[in-house]
C-alpha cells in the first residue's frame, strides 16, 4: 500500500464520514454536535485533498488546486506503469 493509495483510502474514509453526518443531519436538522462534527470532517477533507493534489496531481475532474489539463501528463489506465 504506497503512500498514494493510503492517502486515497483516508480521503475516501473522511468523505464517507461526511456523507454519514450529512444524512444524519437530514433527519436531525438542529443537532449542533452533528453539524460541528461535519464541519470538522469537511475541513479535514479539504486539507487532505489539497495535500493529495500537491503530491499526486488532480484527484477529480473538479480539482481546484491543479491545472485543468493535468490529466494529459498522467499515464493512461492501460499503460503498464499506471499501477
Amino acid at each position: 500500500m504506497n503512500e498514494e493509495q493510503a492517502l486515497r483510502r483516508r480521503i475516501g474514509a473522511v468523505k464517507f464520514a461526511c456523507w454519514e453526518l450529512h444524512l444524519f443531519l437530514d433527519t436531525h436538522p438542529n443537532n449542533c454536535d452533528a453539524a460541528r462534527k461535519l464541519e470538522e470532517y469537511k475541513r479535514e477533507l479539504s486539507a487532505l485533498t489539497k495535500e493529495f493534489e500537491d503530491k499526486f496531481g488532480p484527484i477529480g475532474e473538479t480539482s481546484a488546486n491543479t491545472s485543468r489539463w493535468a490529466w494529459i501528463s498522467d499515464p493512461w489506465p492501460w499503460e503498464k506503469e499506471a499501477n
Binding site: V14, E20, N30, N31
Partner: protein, 67 residues
C-alpha cells in the same frame, strides 16, 4: 446553546425521543436514532458501513461477538 446531553439545540425538533409520547397500540415503531458522542473512526466506519456504532450490526452467525 445546545443541550449537551442530547445534542439538540433549542428549536424545531426538540421532542425527538426514540418513541413518540403516545405510541398507538398495535402499531410498529422504529425507535428514532439519537445522537451519540462515541462515533466510529473514519476508517472503521468505511469498513463497518456506518459511522454510528448503534447502527453497526455485523452478522454474528450465532456467535456472541464479532470475529
Amino acid at each position: 446553546m445546545a443541550d449537551e446531553k442530547t445534542g439538540q439545540s433549542c428549536g424545531l425538533y426538540n421532542d425527538l425521543t426514540p418513541l413518540p409520547e403516545d405510541p398507538v397500540p398495535a402499531m410498529a415503531y422504529v425507535p428514532y436514532q439519537q445522537w451519540q458522542k462515541d462515533l466510529h473512526t473514519a476508517e472503521r466506519a468505511l469498513d463497518a458501513g456506518t459511522l454510528f456504532p448503534v447502527l453497526d450490526k455485523p452478522f454474528l452467525g450465532g456467535r456472541r461477538e464479532p470475529r
